[in-house]
Amino acid sequence: MATYSTNEFKAGLKVMLDGDPASIVENEFVKPGKGQAFNRVRIRNLKTGRTIERTFKSGESIEAADVVDVEMQYLYNDGQFWHFMNPQSYEQLAADKNAVGDNAKWMKEQDVCLLTLWNGVPLIVEPPNTVILKIVETDPGLKGDTSGGGGKPATLETGAVVRVPLFVQNGETIKVNTRTGEYLARA
């Protein structure tokens, strides 16, 4: 079992916390001049996404988590799993609903996603920061109701709904920021 001592703690280090894989967000060494040293750590549970604070005695060791990030190409969804392929090794992996979560609405075949694997199994799937998607449904009216901030809702080919400017029409492709869900430009 690989372990890390508090001396190895730094942002991004992957460790096991209460049986779940977790990532260190922030590590602070605190010590009274003549007293016990502690590491105050903010740490994100990679399964739940929740960040908590925990204190370790300096010098303690905790179990390392076998967590790696890999870029993989999204192939298809079979109704239950999302399938990906490593473009270098052609190795294929399937991610479940827990791993993909809300990001499913941005996933388009061929796009390269970032997969966080825990013991080789996808834990988190992140789409590219920006994606180019086709509008499948939007109100054609140029003079739409402008009370909603000067835009209108548009449904994209992946099922996501984003607000687009009034001049954007059905069948057009647009560039969207997947982190904010905002329209960026026509593509």
């Binding site: 060494f29 009274p32 502690f38 604070e53 005695k57």
Partner: protein
Amino acid sequence: MKNKSSGDWRSTATLEVLELRARLLQQIRAFFSARGVLEVETPVLSSAAATDPALASFTTRYTGPRFPHGQTLYLHTSPEFPMKRLLAAGCDSIYQICKVFRDGESGQRHNPEFTLLEWYRVSFDQHRLMTETTELVMSLLAPILKLDPPERVTYREAFLRHADIDPHTATVADYTTVAKRHNIDFPKDLMTRNDTAAWRDLLLTHVIESKLGQGRLTFLYDYPASQASLARLQPGNPPVAARFELYLNGVELANGFHELSDAEEQRLRFDHQLHFRAADGMLGVPIDERLLSALEHGLPDCSGVALGLDRLVMVASGARTIEEVIAFPIDRA
């Protein structure tokens, strides 16, 4: 990943901060010179080391004339022991500004080598030395920071006020309850070990420190006897250690004692600390027998305090990390 061409040969401190540092050093020397306190220098390398389990010394080795077969030497964690030998040998009040070294300490407020100002005042008790510490720090900071009048709070008052717990009577179970109330996810083995001093350090660093010295100098004094370190005990119920610490804006700046002068009591504390180190699997270190001989000869009644100069520059310049006030921290050393 460090980029070799990223410029890490450069200083992490700005020129302005280095100038402030130099100015403060001059002012400190002028302050003590005006008061007739003698500047001294003592060895950085010592054949003995601090036994305090909270301090880890660097070791090195000398081989050559006088020690043809080599001699293990420890880099001092503070100049306290040789300065007390000077006092016992007849020096009146003395001060020293020097680099000290502590293994294992690196963080926002820690660098393994740092600068201490340490001074001893013959015939001062802890309160008189707190007064002089205030005079020094206020003379240095008053032109830079707007500060409220200083305050003195006993260690007990601070714990009662900010953590609602009495540090002289609380049990491990009491500390556990308070830590949980403050949402501290504490190390499990603190619960199984009957080490209330470690619990107090946990609450101090996690709950209390950030509330100390907000816009003013706050002295914490009268420490629990088990944290006396090198301070003498004062009779009372319970007896407390004549020890103080200075905080400003949540940063621990200084630690002072009405110095223990009883050689026998000092030896008992050293032995006790060495037992604790052994039980904790820490490195054993040689006791400073020359200090004990000096105490047997007779240490004048005195108080001493060590002030972290880097921390002082941090507070004076508004720096968040110690790296901003030293030219080259450990990862650029």
